[in-house]
Each structure stands twice: as structure tokens, then as C-alpha cells.
Symmetry: C2
Subunit: 344 residues, 2 copies
């Protein structure tokens, strides 16, 4: 019989993080554990304000999850369909269940989750994100991040060019650009994309508002750089529309209800000839390690959400010369668990 436990957790950031929609210095998490025959699987939900979840909504959702009706953790689709059907939304809370279940499955099999999915253990260079700030402060931050192969620059403001110019004055690292829906005019966006290409940009994430399907499709058709849908692509069912709107998708476990659906999204996107990026929210090493298990399916990886946190209670995937290296431990890849966070 499967047993779910959960605890809220307040993950603190070492620095204030700003994007075009707001700023914050902490992230509300829910940490989960599924126990089965003495084996514990760990999971995590991170609830950014954009998607309408909170510590309270996650606790309410998880209180309604009764896993005692399932006797077999390998009956994964049945379990996850049940969880998904309890209420709409609540993607991060659902993810926290999926993640703990896959950690449990891996531990029961004695293999890392990537191997359970038939995937190789990919080692990707992750990008490291620089949040919005003054151009000077962003350049200062860039200068500190020379160990990373790629930077990821948050744009979507009136000062986009000044920010890039300031960063380019201190480093020539290639970067990913994330406009977070901040560009409103498609012709101006296209001009900027041409300029950003010359400055060494690899791709453009969510250039215009997610609702503007025709604007994003117009830009994608003309863009000299790949466009990646993020806010516009949350779950598997969003890919059909996205396939004519963007060149690729950003899969984040916290948007898509977890590893199982994330795997399916990557498979579907690749079948449609789209690029696949793995992204994250502000998360502990638990969720970041889980996402890294799908690395073999990704063209690009932006799994840095644990790197600038003050009270990460887990250890797992390691950063080595800018590359994410998964340990060979069974499950999602934790090397330090934290069972004492949960009531007995």
C-alpha cells in the first residue's frame, strides 16, 4: 500500500530574483514522500505565483490524494490519472506526487530513473540565469559566472539592448534569452531578435505574450533564431498548438505534472520536429535531479534553480565544470535525503 506524506518548505534565495513580471527572494515549496514496503521516494512541488498555486493550494490538493487505494507503484498511469483527476490545475502539487513515485520506482528497481525510461545518463552544460536588474548589476553578475558554458538572460524590458551591451562588455559567453512574454510588438521583436543573434544568442524563449498565438507564430516564421514556448506550453495537450507557434518547447516538471508527462512531451515534441529544452523553477536538488534524469531527450538544459538557494535540504545532481552530472544512485538521483522533514 502506498502512503503519501507532505510538508511545506520555504526555500530562500541568496539574492532577489527579478523577471519581467515581478521579483522575489524565496519560493514556497511542498516536499513529498511516498512510502511503500519500507522504501521512501521523495518529491517536490515549487509553486511560482504565475500559475496560481501556493503553499496553501498544494496542501489542500495533497490532503485529497489517497494513495492507499493503490497496491502497485508500477501501475503508474492509473495512479497519475487518478491524481490528475482530483482537481484541475495544481500542476506543481501533482508533480510532487509523480516525482516521489518515480523516485520510489527507481529505488525498488535499483536503478536511476533515466535507465527505467531507457535513456542514457546525459551530461549537459546548464545555463545559469541572470535576473533583471540595471545593466551594470547584470554585467557584474555575468562576470561572476564564468564557469558556465551558457548564460540565460532575462529580458522583456525597454532596456534590453543596454543590458546585453553591458553583459557583452564583460563576457563573450553565448546566452539563451528569455523575454518572459515581455515583447508586445512583433516587428520590434523581430528587429531585436536579429540584433540578438549577432550578439551570440542561442534561442529566444517566450518572446511575446502566450495568448498572442498569431504574433508568436509570425515571429517564429521569420526568426533567425529558434523560438521556444514556455508560458504557452504547460502540458502535453498544449503541444499541438505550439507546434505551429514555436520551434521548440521548454518542459518544466512544475508545469506539466511531472516526469511521466514531461517524458511524453519530449517524445511528442521530437516526433513533430520541435526542439526540446528542460527548464525549472526555484527548486531544491530534489526536483533538479529529477528533471536531469530526462536530459537525454533535451537539446538544451536550464537547470539552475537550486544553485543560488540558501537552505537546499537535499543533495543530488552535481555541477562539474559547468556540466550537470547525475550520480548513479537509484531513483531520481538523491545522494542526501531528508527523511526527518516528514512526520513519522
Amino acid at each position: 500500500m502506498l502512503k503519501l506524506s507532505f510538508q511545506p518548505y520555504d526555500l530562500r534565495l541568496n539574492r532577489v530574483f527579478r523577471i519581467s513580471r515581478g521579483a522575489r527572494d524565496r519560493a514556497p515549496l511542498v516536499l513529498t514522500r511516498i512510502s511503500f514496503e519500507g522504501v521512501h521516494g521523495y518529491g517536490e512541488g515549487s509553486m511560482p505565483p504565475l500559475y496560481g498555486e501556493s503553499a496553501e493550494s498544494a496542501a489542500k490538493f495533497l490532503s485529497a490524494v489517497d494513495l492507499s487505494r493503490f497496491a502497485d507503484p508500477f501501475d503508474t498511469e492509473s495512479i497519475l490519472q487518478y491524481v490528475d483527476g482530483i482537481a484541475p490545475g495544481n500542476a506543481a502539487a501533482k508533480t510532487s506526487v509523480d516525482m516521489a513515485l518515480h523516485d520510489l520506482i527507481g529505488k525498488l528497481l535499483g536503478m536511476p530513473v533515466h535507465r527505467y525510461f531507457g535513456l542514457a545518463a546525459a551530461q549537459h552544460y546548464t545555463s545559469m540565469t541572470i535576473g533583471l536588474d540595471t545593466p551594470e548589476k547584470m554585467a557584474e553578475r555575468a562576470a561572476e559566472l564564468s564557469e558556465f558554458r551558457y548564460l540565460k538572460i532575462k529580458l522583456g524590458t525597454k532596456d534590453d539592448r543596454a543590458m546585453i551591451e553591458a553583459i557583452r562588455s564583460v563576457t563573450q559567453q553565448p546566452f539563451f534569452v528569455d523575454a518572459n512574454q515581455g515583447w508586445k510588438n512583433k516587428e520590434e521583436a523581430l528587429d531585436l531578435v536579429h540584433w540578438l543573434k549577432e550578439e551570440g544568442t542561442v534561442f529566444i524563449e517566450q518572446p511575446m505574450p502566450r495568448e498572442d498565438v498569431t504574433g508568436n507564430a509570425w515571429l517564429t516564421e521569420r526568426s533567425p533564431l529558434p523560438t521556444i514556448g514556455d508560458e504557452a506550453v504547460q502540458r502535453l495537450s498544449d503541444i499541438k498548438t505550439a507546434s505551429s507557434t514555436y520551434h521548440g518547447i521548454n518542459i518544466k516538471l512544475m508545469k506539466c505534472t511531472g516526469l511521466r508527462e514531461g517524458y511524453k512531451m519530449a517524445v511528442t515534441a521530437k516526433a513533430l520536429g520541435m526542439k526540446v529544452m528542460l527548464g525549472c523553477m526555484t527548486e531544491t536538488s530534489c526536483a533538479i535531479s529529477a528533471a536531469a534524469q530526462l536530459g537525454a531527450l533535451a537539446d538544451w538544459v536550464d537547470l539552475d534553480g537550486h544553485l543560488d538557494t540558501a537552505n537546499n535540504p537535499y543533495e543530488g545532481v552535481e555541477l562539474s565544470n559547468g556540466k550537470l552530472v547525475l550520480p548513479d544512485t537509484p531513483g531520481i538521483g538523491l545522494t542526501k535525503e531528508n527523511n526527518k522533514l516528514f512526520l513519522p
Copy 2:
């Protein structure tokens, strides 16, 4: 270290089987075995003439497969990408490797393959196929098949209406229609589909030639019944085009290189809102049992290729009151293996 063995096998039919492209009374197979640490996984390729494979081409292909370079059967994607890359085509030969590998994986884990994929053990009513013949002979055959919930009627001739009328004079069972590309005029096809709906047809498989994308799309847009692409949809990369040409796809392991790609095709089709049918060639209980492992992903199942064979060397999935029932054995579901077919 993985070791592949293979043997040609001549599977004989109890009756001559005719479709709109030809007739035959036997099927050339290749039977495979992958051995690893004393455990044997079994697979099968069935090579229908349409797709250009033969016993000779399969033997040539499999002779080039060197699995000794792989130490881990769970490194599935790497193994299958290597096999797929050896030569283009050869889908059934590739399937015979994928199937043996998944049988091995299931046996190593001690679980049926559906459980490894996280799927429930579906019990589907399979259709039973009636090949082309005179209307009278087709009706005679239909009268013998009352145990089946669905018949599958091969059409695509000038006598389509007479065949259906003859069958309807002996039974009211609903049926699937498979035109096997036999309809050449889209307006006539649409008229026939309207008539077939009134006669109790569930869906129409491959109405017009696979090359006629616009004709099939025209028909699909207007058809009162679901259309299913078969000859037009062989592998994962064909689904993108098929999604605007048909309402659904017929996944056959022998077309798509096996269980792994078949699983991905089902996931992709469902993500695009398409129907999924599982089909087969003339096959032993080995390949039919393997296909039935993916039953939970299917809307309809036509897995009857083993039912009318004279020298099926395996036992696995059973027919019970018209339903396919998988045994709970590890792997693809064999209950009688045939290790002695292979040289030591």
C-alpha cells in the same frame, strides 16, 4: 553482454488470405532471441511483401547486428538507435530485436512489459479479419466468427457493397472496414463511407492510396466515420503529416520497429487528439502478445494474426469470449517458449 540469435520460420495459414493487393497462404518470419546472464528474451519479425522485406533481407540485416557492444539491456534507446542506424528500412527485422530486448527486460525485472511501461493490463475485444473472397464465401466465413465482438472486413474492390450485404445477411456484428488503399475516387469513397456507417461500420482504415494525402485529407474532413491511416503511417515521423490526413493511426509493431517506437507513436497520436488502433501482420503468439502489452493505449485492437495459423510455435495471450487476455508472466507474455528453435 547481450547475444542475439535468429532463425527463419515459415508460418503457415489455415486458409488463403486475400486483400486488395494480393493473396497468400504463408508468411515468412524471423524468430529472434537475446540472451543475457542466462535469461532469454524472444522476438519476432513478420515480413509482408508490401514493405519490401523478406526472410533473406531480415537474415542479412540481423547478421549485421552486433549486440556484444552493449553491457546493459536497460540502455534501451542507445541499443535501438544503434540497430535503427545500421541500414534504412528493415522495420520488421528491427522489431524482432526490440521485441526480444523488451521480453528480456521484463524477465530481468520480473514484470510484464505493460507494467514496465506503467500501463494497466488492458483486455480488449479484438476484431477478426475476413479476407477478400466472393460475397458468398465472405458471408460463410462471417457466420463462423460469432464469438468475436467485431469483424474486420477487407474491402477496396468493385464488389464492396455486395460483400457487406452478404455478410449482413448472416450477422449484425459491428465491423471495422479496411480498404487497403483500394478506393481511388474520393467522392465515391465518401458515398460508400456514408452507406457503410448505416451498415454498422466503426471506422475506415486506409481508404485511399497512401500517396494521396490531399484525397485522404478531403475524405477525413467530410467522413461521418473515423478514418485510420495504416499504410500511410509506418513510423513515428509519419504522424505529423497523418495528423492532418486521418483521424487516427494503426500502429503495427512490424511497421514501426517495435514496442519502444510503438509506445511513442501512441503517446504522440493521443497528444494530437488522434485515435489509436493496434494492428498486426500474420504473426505467432510471440508478436501478438507483445503488441497486446500496449493495449491500454489503444482505442481499438485488431490482433488476430495468430488465430488462423497452422504451426504457431509459441503460446501467450489467450482469446476468451472474444477478448484478448494477457497472462501475468514477465516479459512480453509468453506462456510457452521455444528455446530449441535456436542453435545453442
